[in-house]
Symmetry: C2
Subunit: 359 residues, 2 copies
């Protein structure tokens, strides 16, 4: 991939038209870029703020070719893009972040092997393809443990908890024959995440770590500043920079970390803007979405210094009923995704509540 | 106009597709709304971030009907919309801000009469239709003075300065036969503006006044906080609220004020978001664009408290050459409008430089 710097009026192609693509489109517009969304589903949220939308499947090579021809660079809002589509697209236009980040993050075993090779701590893990594999993994790792599909998981989907070895058969059935990974239980006090960015020229910048609380496997709140010692905060940022540099990464990445007495344990990495970074929209001059667009466009990174204490609360399903009340709150910034249909478990929006200025 | 509250997924129609419409569209998306832009010119900047664009003239009643039918409420990014188009549209959908604000602000004489009737100070003025009118006006008001067209002026267009009575003929010729107004010279120390907002339920909120510097008749910088005493600041906010309430206004309005030893003199009002309010994008939790959309949608106003000191610098024409340098600055937020063609005097973007946190 040769170096390039996009000029005002250039077009950024985005694979995926959900809320992350929507907020990436808005950030792109702020820098004078157009966006073109590629999304199989009809009426994607990102389509409301994009110059162009292609509605087609990832197996439609003609549509992929037309899409690539119409854009200057390609990025994505989710990591589970079919490999064949990526192989086709990368012949036509640069893809940022690059293929290596996708290869590593699309498979939980590959990801954990990569992190271990960097000297980072992860939960104990073993690959599980068969009932015999699972018995061996339980014997080695113990319970409680979590069985996850190696690929295509998100928001707690494709996961089964094992309280004891007796749960093995049911958990394996939940995988529906897909290759899986058994992950040992990590005894952590809380979870934090770092939103890191790396520019095409190798400049690295991380946002202040946020502290995450999940409910039913879905992110509930992210709070900054996180409850971390100065040395933990430094560790979190340095290990994120380590990951970004090892992948020669270009763009924004989310790194989820468990905080334990034995140090920080990497839960998972996401090669994209991340729900736990939404607080940056109201806590920083440059947010994670613009930081990603800057990197993808070959620009220098912006100033992501945190200027306020923020709590980000996800609005999921019926939480939309609270919007009238939240809209009248002081120090609260609503971000709604324009999804017409409210469904249980569906991310409909979020609110950033500003607690106080950090200046 | 009956009361209504727009729900997520509703569509806001915007007359005008320039940078103000573009930033209004982005703010609308943040609250879950779609936008539909009506604009005679091709490829409007707002079209890049809108769900729909209608390209048609304001005399195309069929296009206006289709546009109105496709939206839930109509607003606008500029005040010089032809009256016939407004007459047609208001039969179909509510227009916010309302017709009275447009009637008053579309004609400089009507505007100044309105302000005087509210007990506010303006520059001395007289209507000028003929050479005889101009002679009488010069005799009454004196020189230096400024001759302006009564309607359709912006960014210093349609204006001629008179240093002495000898300039009368040339100045009148510049009006090209259009009805005009002679405005006396105001000896002011500096100009400030207040961005005020009023909700459909009558809630009023003003952003902190900004101090404006113009170059060649175009806004150059706005700086907050403005150089004002506490009582001047209070006067500025109260007179803006006075104007908003008198018009039963719904939306955001820009009020330009001259600061003089004799008090604040109203230069002009603009019934829309205003260039001198762009600093709010990086100085407040809720910016002027979202405040306008909230009002137009029937929502409560948001929290516009200023949390930082900001200098907004307009990027005009060749200022775009400075973008690479500005993009690497700390504490600087770029906002580019995606206009492909750079022209002298054309507003291409702006940068908000954060000076320090006001918290």
């Amino acid at each position: 991939m040769t170096d390039f710097i996009l000029q005002t009026g250039a077009t950024i192609g985005i694979l995926g038209g959900g809320q992350l693509g929507r907020m990436l489109s808005v950030a792109a517009s702020r820098l004078g870029f157009k966006t073109h969304i590629f999304e199989p589903g009809a009426n994607p949220p990102a389509g409301d703020v994009a110059a162009q939308v292609t509605t087609a499947g990832y197996d439609d090579l003609g549509a992929l070719t037309d899409f690539a021809s119409a854009v200057d660079v390609i990025t994505y809002e989710f990591e589970n893009i079919p490999t064949e589509a990526l192989n086709h697209l990368e012949k036509l236009r640069p893809i940022r972040p690059g293929r290596e980040a996708l290869r590593v993050s699309q498979d939980r075993i590959t990801e954990k092997d990569f992190l271990r090779d960097l000297g980072l701590q992860t939960a104990p893990y073993m690959a599980v393809d068969t009932a015999e594999d699972l018995d061996r993994a339980i014997a080695a790792i113990g319970t409680p443990a979590i069985l996850k599909t190696r690929r295509f998981g998100y928001d707690g989907k494709g996961q089964a908890r094992l309280k004891s070895p007796a749960d093995a058969a049911n958990a394996l059935a939940d995988m529906a024959g897909a290759p899986a990974i058994l992950e040992g239980f990590v005894d952590f006090s809380h979870e934090v995440s770092v939103i890191g960015a790396r520019s095409a020229s190798g400049q690295v910048s991380c946002f202040d770590p946020g502290e995450n609380v999940h409910r039913d496997g879905i992110l509930h709140t992210t709070t900054v500043p996180a409850n971390l010692t100065a040395s933990q905060r430094m560790d979190a940022v340095l290990l994120t920079a380590n990951i970004l540099n090892a992948l020669e990464y270009v763009g924004v990445m989310g790194v989820e970390l468990f905080v334990t007495p034995q140090g920080l344990i990497v839960n998972e990495i996401a090669p994209r803007v991340h729900n736990s970074g939404h607080w940056t929209q109201n806590g920083c001059v440059i947010d994670q979405f613009e930081q990603h667009i800057r990197a993808v466009a070959g620009w220098p990174l912006g100033d992501g210094t945190r200027h306020a204490d923020v709590e980000m609360l996800n609005l999921i399903g019926d939480d939309m009923d609270k919007v009238p009340e939240i809209s009248a709150e002081g120090n609260a910034a609503l971000h709604l995704y324009g999804k017409a249909e409210v469904k249980a478990g569906r991310k409909m929006g979020h609110v950033n509540r500003i607690k106080k200025s950090a200046g």
